[in-house]
Amino acid sequence: MSDSTPSFESVLAAVRAAGDAASLRALEREQLGKEGPIAALLASIPTLPPESRKEAGQRANRMKSELAAAVAERLQQLEEAQLAAERSGAGFDATLPAARVERGSLHPLTQVTRELEDLFTSMGYTVLDGPEVELDWYNFEALNIPRDHPARDMQDTFRCDPAGNVVLRPHTSPVQVRAMERMRPPFRAIAPGKVFRQESTDASHEHTFHQMEGLVVGKDISVGHLIGAMKTLLRGVFGREIEIRLRPGYFPFVEPGFELDARCPFCKSGCRVCKQSTWIELLPCGMVHPNVLRAGNIDPAEWSGFAFGLGLSRLVMLRHGIDDVRHLLSGDVRFLEQFR
């Protein structure tokens, strides 16, 4: 061993001070490799006097294991330091934007309609569809609204011929008698769809909007059942118990007829949505008028039922805070893409 060879202690110190795994591995190769000083030491043993050989061999092996242990220890220290540095989150920017996932969207009316369809089908309701271009018979006559009835003025109906034989339905209620023609009681049905009113439009009025009719016919169906069904509906829509109230409302095809108000889900003591009243007028409903049951060939002495008409467009606006109903059917992608 020449003087230029670093002392064993300084090698150990260098191992313990190694800054990273790569330089440590290099040092390990240099010292413990075939060309390294310990290998040279071992190789030189046969040239030593026999009495020194044992001791020299032991010394070399001790150095070898001591050095290997130091390397292993340092390596572990370095790994832990690196893990600690990684775990510290250094260099992580929590405000970087997420990678975008592009996808299309379903119309918010589709989304709410699906939810309601799923809710009601789970309770044994059938989902029905009715034509937008409807016969006067289903729209008026069968609904206990004969010609000359003032209620014909209540809905500003689009007529397709001067005689008014064909109209654009102003409500989804014509599906009621169509349902009775298809199904025998007892039955439960809903019918979502488009309706039309001949009125000028503004942020809260549209000539075309969406509604959902509900109809239940059975033995001894009562106002109590209607209340129960409406509370279930609101639980489904708002995800929690919502207080309701029924008050008299006049619609010729129900008797008694009601307006159903829901306690405003957005405030405790009045807000813009409920016009400071804490109640939101949500849907007209009532017990099916005996004349309507008769029009559907159902004996009102044997069966009774309730019906309701939920404004889907209104519900969508309430749910998403949409301030202008005209956006719904505008076809504007900037509106649609918000409901991904």
């Binding site: 592009e102 996808r103 299309g104 969207s105 379903l106 119309h107 369809e117 089908t121 309770m123 059938t126 989902v127 029905l128 034509p131 937008e132 271009v133 409807e134 016969l135 018979w137 000359d148 003032p150 209620a151 003025d153 209540m154 689009f158 007529r159 397709c160 011929d161 064909v166 654009l168 439960r188 488009k194 039309f196 001949q198 009125e199 075309t208 059975g218 009562s222 106002v223 109590g224 059942h225 129960g228 069904a229 029924l246 008050r247 008299p248 006049y250 008797e255 008694p256 009601f258 005996p290 009774s304 719904l328 059917l329 505008s330 076809g331 504007d332 992608v333 900037r334 649609l336 893409e337």
Partner: protein, 812 residues
């Protein structure tokens, strides 16, 4: 309609029942209340003043300087411009700080150099009339400093009712009807109202001839010794509260009776009528009549007229005539109170766009017993205010009318079962009696007599009575109940299948395909139809459209999407839209008149034109074609097979040279796919910076629903490895990709598992009129591992056939 709280108090004791409580009661038991507002709230701040002295303004001829005692100890100096102000008067004073209607705040100020510490008000300034020729001179009995609203009984609340919610309640078109509701709810009696006709003289009655069935009752009564003078303040205030402008005593009382009892009536100046009396008849064709609003109306034979001699004097139940109206000098009246047929009045009022307080009430089908009470009410009120009133002759009561009062049998058990609440028989009977129904019977069955006021149309069957019980009991007192019934899954009928298909299509499109779903109006504009050249097509159309050019209902969904395309391209650049909806085709109407309804999915994909050198399938046409194949696969139908359509059969939006028709198995065309018709593109605004690559497709849900289901079939996994080779072929341009691919399939002799075209190329290297096609070809055998030799044979067979087609394999 507006209801005055003070007015209600004339009919029922409201002590302890606040206006807010009245509103709540009406809301929960009767009708829809739109608002509750204090009547002229600023009146609470106006005080009574006593004009002590009046002197001329030193600098202005028309102004007076007054000293006014407002009950404050010292008098105030107020400058007043009214000609009628004078010392000794009691006047209405607005003190500084008070705000009057029209954002007018009174301030202490100098008028032409003289200090004025308040304002003496006219009725108009207070919101109580049109009178502005002078200040309002109050009764001398008032005390200076008193609040005007208290001193003159002016404080009131106005309840606005939603008229629509009264459509079925002819009894609620006057204050007494509402008072009866409140009385029933609070178990209080209605105050008695004497309406019998006072004794009359024995002169000849007014002759009345009724020539039309639309008039079932006509009362006519002469009143002499009257004057069209100003009504008393209490009457004016009540009329003001409900938005009825006071005119003169004779007309005001006529309006008062209508608003009190709900019975319209009319007063004519008797001297301006013909001596022959009154005839109720239909209008003659082309007959004209000037109503008292000064408008000349062109009438039709379905209109009902009141005539006197050969002249019409009133449009029955709607409006009187100008020539016979009460005027300043009127001293002799003919009072008309009648029953007119509701539909006749409604039709005429609607046609003439002349809805009046009177016609609105007649339309509701009024109680035919009411006219007699209304006539007595008018006469008695007038007698109190007009000491000189004389009735020279008995009332004429003409017409044939039936009392609609009836008896309805009501099962108490049915009341309980329909309402879903336990109510004792006596409780049911009690509610009905409080509402004025007569009730007899026992052991669960009630015989309910319906008074005429409720019987004209509201109460006809037992359900109507059940509503009466329910609303007074209050619906909030009915417990929530659950329906118990067996539940079965809904039938898997056509409607169900269509809904499931629609959901699948929506989900696929809104997912990986990145389309936005839109919903459109069913109306299709004449403008877009003109762009499409589809003006001549038959459409369902409405006769009362919302606007000119928006009367037609779409036959297909596509025009709705095209209408928004340019706007969306401008806003969003890349547009992927779909709509699932209905179209209506009147040429296929049912015998009942229902037009055929088609269900369609329409898709639009538009964006910038792809760059030169982009991959051959980078265009929207290819991309949309892929989306459609994926959609149809997702619905579990056979894979789409495409063919070139007859251009004549294509819809007008389709590019005649770039269109395909797709079928899923046998049967009708399911999909039409096309690029946008190039001339239409420009007309829709897709030019210049909006020049677009547009693909469109229309898929018939009706055809899809009928297409045979063919879900994926399992194929055993390959035992031997697949070999993938690339094949490039240069061929004359007329050789289609399909033709060349078929060569490869044949050359594989059943080994070709997949063929994927990945490049199309034209260029100088190939020579003119030639195009290079390149495929990834996957070959698999079910029997062995394919070797070099198999691949070589595949290429040899392919090359042989390609050569026959004038094509050659490209090596490299």
């Amino acid at each position: 309609m507006k209801i005055s709280y003070r007015w209600l108090g004339r009919h029922v004791d409201l002590s302890g029942i606040s206006p807010q409580r009245v509103v709540e009661d009406l809301t929960l038991s009767t009708c829809e209340v739109e608002s509750l507002t204090p009547f002229l709230p600023h009146l609470a701040n106006i005080v009574v003043g006593h004009v002590l002295t009046r002197a001329k303004h030193p600098d202005a001829d028309k102004l007076s300087v007054c000293s006014v005692d407002c009950g404050e100890g010292t008098a105030r100096q107020i400058v007043c411009g009214a000609p009628n102000v004078d010392a000794g008067q009691m006047v209405a004073v607005a003190l500084p700080g008070v705000e009057l209607p029209g954002d007018f705040r009174i301030k202490k100020s100098k008028i032409r150099g003289v200090e004025s510490d308040g304002m003496i008000c006219s009725e108009r300034e207070l919101g109580l009339g049109d009178e502005h020729n002078g200040i309002w001179v109050l009764p001398e009995t008032l005390k200076p400093g008193a609040k005007l609203a208290d001193a003159m009984d002016l404080s009131d609340w106005v309840i606005e009712i939603d008229n629509k919610s009264l459509t079925h309640r002819p009894d609620l078109w006057g204050h007494r009807g509402f008072a009866a509701e409140i009385a029933a709810m609070h178990l209080r009696p209605l105050k008695p109202l004497e309406t019998s006709l006072p004794p009359t003289g024995n002169g000849p009655t007014v002759p009345v001839r009724i020539e039309s069935q639309a008039c079932t009752r006509y009362l006519a009564l002469r009143l002499e010794g009257v004057q069209a003078r100003r009504s008393p303040d209490w009457l004016r205030a009540l009329l003001f509260a409900v938005d009825q402008r006071p005119i003169d005593l004779l007309v005001d009382l006529s309006n008062f009776v209508m608003l009190d009892l709900g019975q319209p009536n009319h007063v004519f100046d008797a001297t301006r009528l013909d001596a022959s009396g009154i005839t109720v008849r239909n209008a003659r064709a082309e007959e004209r009549f000037r109503t008292l609003d000064g408008v000349e109306r062109r009438l039709e034979p379905s209109d009902l007229l009141i005539a006197s001699g050969d002249k019409a004097v009133a449009l029955a139940g709607i409006m009187g005539g100008e020539d016979s109206k009460v005027e300043a000098g009127t001293q002799s009246l003919l009072l008309e109170v009648a029953s007119f047929h509701f539909a006749t009045v409604r039709r005429t009022a609607a046609r003439l766009a002349l809805r009046t307080d009177s016609s609105t009430r007649f339309e509701k089908n009024l109680d035919p017993t009411l006219p007699l009470r209304a006539a007595g009410h008018y006469v008695r009120l007038l007698a109190q205010l007009e000491p000189g009133l004389r009735l020279p002759a008995p009332l004429c009561d003409a017409g044939e009318w039936k009392d609609p009062a009836r008896v309805i049998e009501l099962s108490c058990e049915r009341v309980r079962s329909l309402l879903g609440v336990e109510l004792a028989d006596v409780h049911i009977a009690d509610i009905l009696m409080r509402l004025g129904f007569g009730v007899k019977g026992s052991s669960g069955t009630l015989y309910v007599s319906v008074p005429s006021a409720r019987a004209t149309k509201d109460i006809g069957i037992d359900s109507d009575l059940i509503e009466e019980v329910g609303r007074i009991h209050r619906y909030g007192n009915i417990p929530e109940a659950r329906i118990t019934a067996p539940i079965a899954p809904p039938p898997r009928d056509e409607g169900w299948q269509r809904r499931m298909l629609v959901r699948t299509l929506q989900d696929r499109l809104a997912g990986a395909a990145r389309f936005h779903e839109t919903l459109s109006y069913s109306f299709v504009s004449d403008a877009i139809l003109a762009e499409l050249g589809a003006t001549e097509e038959r459409h369902v159309a409405v006769i009362n459209p919302i606007a000119e050019g928006f009367s037609k209902i779409r036959r297909h969904v596509m025009p709705s999407l095209l209408a928004t395309l340019a706007h969306n391209r401008r806003m969003a650049g890349e547009v992927r839209l779909f709509e699932i909806g209905k179209g209506y085709q009147p040429e296929y109407s049912s015998t009942r008149g229902e037009p055929r309804e088609v269900h369609e999915l329409s898709l639009v994909w538009a964006g910038p034109v792809p760059a030169k050198g982009a991959r051959f399938d980078a265009g929207r046409f290819s991309q949309l074609q892929g989306v459609l194949e994926d959609l149809v696969r997702a619905t579990g139908r056979q894979s789409l097979s495409w063919s070139a359509p007859d251009p004549a059969s294509l819809p007008s939006w389709a590019h005649p040279g770039r269109a395909l028709v797709g079928r899923a198995g046998e049967g009708d065309a399911l999909v039409t796919l096309a690029a946008l018709e190039p001339r239409l593109a420009a007309r829709l605004g897709l030019k210049d910076e909006l020049a677009s690559d547009v693909a469109l497709a229309e898929l018939s849900l009706d055809v899809l629903l009928g297409a045979e289901a063919a879900g994926p079939r399992y194929r055993p996994l390959p035992v031997f490895p697949a070999v993938k080779v690339d094949v490039a072929v240069a061929a004359p341009r007329e050789r289609s990709a399909g033709e060349l691919a078929a060569v490869l399939t044949r050359a594989g002799k059943g080994l070709v598992r997949d063929l994927e075209l990945f490049d199309l190329y034209e260029g100088e290297k190939l020579g003119a009129g030639r195009r290079s096609h390149a495929w990834h070809v996957t070959l698999v055998s079910d029997e062995r591992t394919l070797g070099e030799e198999d691949i070589g044979k595949f290429f040899q067979r392919a090359e042989r056939e390609f050569t026959q087609l004038g094509a050659e394999l490209r090596k490299g």
